[in-house]
């Protein structure tokens, strides 16, 4: 199967700092891929490069075989690459329902510009309520996003990314800021809601138990490079990965909670 997302020699330098250097990644459609790595390893930079927020110094990004290098985020989004954020990016003064309505309204206005529009004959209003219940946000429907608990804001942030009907969804630390007890429930809910539509998922995660459980493949980042790429067990038992990412001597579980 041809890859949905492919990067070739993707490089980003900020002055003397190289945040991404020669990243070659190929993601198959309908898979769940985990991105791991310490702080500053280049995971978020990778997401920013793929979605057009940053322009690469060198290299190309291809989506379904099409070169999308240097496209601005709104065009990348329209093609079907959407993302959620480590710090939820929601519309604070709007209610949860209105937050979704904004995104659905954009899709509704530019139906032809979005691939695979999911609105069909239904209205944005109806789809917004359907999505609220799918993400179990219905009880927060009329609350302004500013007063919602952090975990709920995270969920809303992901739901908003889903509102614009992605082919591939990039999640930046979906479980950060969520208590350890709730992480698995959150991931079950999110992946359940996303995978029902066969959306390819790339997610950044620090909790190795989460990564092991939900991914089919792992990319390990270190110092702007991909140092391991493969099946979860293989990557997580890799010597380099254990030393540089997981932390030698510490078990994966302990790493996750700190």
């Amino acid at each position: 199967m041809s890859p949905i997302l492919e990067t070739v020699g993707l490089t980003k330098a900020f002055g003397a700092v190289t945040a991404a250097s020669g990243i070659n990644v190929s993601v198959a459609e309908d898979t769940v891929v985990g991105l791991i790595g310490g702080n500053g390893a280049g995971k978020t930079t990778f997401l920013n490069l793929v979605t057009g927020y940053l322009k690469p110094t060198a290299g190309t990004v291809r989506f379904l075989g099409r070169d999308i290098t240097g496209m601005p985020p709104r065009r990348v989004t329209r093609l079907g690459i959407c993302r959620s954020f480590q710090i939820p990016q929601v519309f604070d003064s709007l209610t949860a329902y209105e937050n979704l309505l904004v995104g659905l309204g954009i899709v509704f206005m530019g139906r032809s510009a979005f691939v695979g529009s999911h609105l069909g004959q239904s209205t944005p209003e109806a789809v917004a309520d359907e999505m609220l219940s799918r993400f179990r946000l219905s009880e927060y429907r009329n609350e302004p996003a500013a007063v919602l608990p952090e975990g709920v804001r995270k969920l809303l942030d992901i739901a908003m990314a889903m509102a614009v009907k992605p082919r591939i969804l990039l999640l930046d630390e979906p479980t950060s800021g969520v208590s350890a007890d709730d992480k698995f429930a959150l991931m079950d809910l999110v992946l359940g809601a996303i995978r029902a539509d066969k959306v390819t998922v790339l997610f950044v995660e620090h909790d190795m138990d989460i990564v092991r459980r939900y991914t089919q493949r792992i990319l390990a980042f270190y110092d702007g490079k991909v140092i391991a790429d493969g099946e979860p067990e293989a990557v997580l038992s890799d010597r380099e990965v254990r030393r540089l990412v997981v932390g030698e001597g510490a078990s994966a579980g302990e790493e996750a909670t700190c």
């Binding site: 985020p73 929601v90 519309f91 604070d92 904004v102 309204g105 954009i106 509704f108 530019g110 990314a161």
Partner: protein, 314 residues
């Protein structure tokens, strides 16, 4: 009842009230209502900008552009009908803002406010230095008909008044519809988080551009109506105090409803008239005290009185 229908019915009721009240009102009151509605139009445009997260201190530019366009159309091209002149005023403002907007839409916050102010003062400077347009004195504008009815006597006495009421009605209902549309909903989204707007596939800059053109159209129509009502235009219409007054009206009225700027403008004009009448030497003091009271007791604007009451009855 759905909110858009409620707003439309409210505007219709206001239009009916203005029509019924017309024969009972003395000339000065008719004039006062017209001027209030014209200022309300400009302030309604500011409401849209404020909801987009921007404050323009230069709406006088579009107000003056509309007024001068209407004046020139009457005097130089013999366009006689007031309704057409109001439309021309709006179009003139749209043309100006369509060009300036290319630059303005790149700026936010205080930079947007100051740049809009700068543009309006440039127009003021140009008008003052244009003998063809009467320099500092401006020139007279004499409208002949409104909707085909000769102004002046009989029913024509209410010509400009009727025009102002109809334009305010149409603009109010249309603006309310727009704000509830898929496109209009992007205004508060842009104010809250432009990054997310871009990551949902829309251009925040285009939203700002569109909304500032719409706001200019409203100010332009207001300027043209003012020119017809006063029978005169002058560069003061582009001066920063005029722009400042629109901001004042918009903020004191509140931005919760598109009806707020019209009501707020009317109340402020009424207050100004009575203050001027009863305290000719200290009327500014009365105005200032009233504005302070609004800010202290109704921080969300005059319209919050209605909001609070509705909440209490629910």
């Amino acid at each position: 009842m759905s909110p858009p229908r409620r707003t439309a019915l409210g505007f219709l009721a206001a239009l009916g009230t203005l029509a019924l009240a017309a024969p009972l009102l003395p000339q000065w009151a008719l004039f006062l209502v017209v001027v209030s509605l014209a200022k309300g139009l400009a302030a309604a445009g500011l409401l849209l900008l404020i909801r987009t997260g921007l404050v323009s201190f230069g709406q006088g530019l579009y107000f003056a552009a509309g007024a001068y366009a209407a004046g020139v159309a009457v005097n130089q091209f013999g366009v006689a009908d007031g309704a057409l002149l109001a439309l021309l005023g709006a179009l003139a403002a749209v043309s100006v803002s369509a060009v300036l907007g290319l630059l303005l839409a790149r700026y936010r916050a205080i930079f947007f406010a100051m740049l809009s102010l700068a543009f309006s003062m440039i127009l003021y400077g140009l008008l003052v230095k244009s003998p063809l347009l009467g320099s500092t004195d401006g020139f007279n504008v004499a409208v002949k008909t409104v909707f085909g009815v000769a102004v002046g006597r009989g029913p024509g006495r209410y010509g400009v008044y009727g025009l102002a009421a109809v334009v305010a009605f149409v603009a109010g209902v249309a603006l309310d519809r727009y704000l509830r549309s898929n496109l209009g909903r992007l205004a508060p989204a842009v104010r809250d988080n432009e990054l997310r707007v871009e990551y949902m596939g829309a251009s925040a800059k285009n939203v700002v551009y569109l909304n500032l053109v719409v706001a200019a159209a409203l100010a332009g129509a207001g300027g043209a109506i003012t020119a017809l009502a006063v029978g005169h235009v002058d560069p003061e219409m582009a001066y920063w105090t005029t722009s400042g007054e629109f901001v004042f009206v918009a903020i004191l009225s509140g931005t919760a409803s598109v009806a707020a700027p019209f009501l707020g403008a009317l109340l402020l004009e009424l207050l100004r008239s009575f203050a001027y009448e009863h305290a000719p030497n200290t009327w500014q003091l009365v105005m200032g005290a009233a504005m302070l009271a609004v800010i202290l007791f109704l921080p969300d604007g005059i319209w919050s009185v209605f909001r609070a009451r509705r909440r209490a009855t629910q």
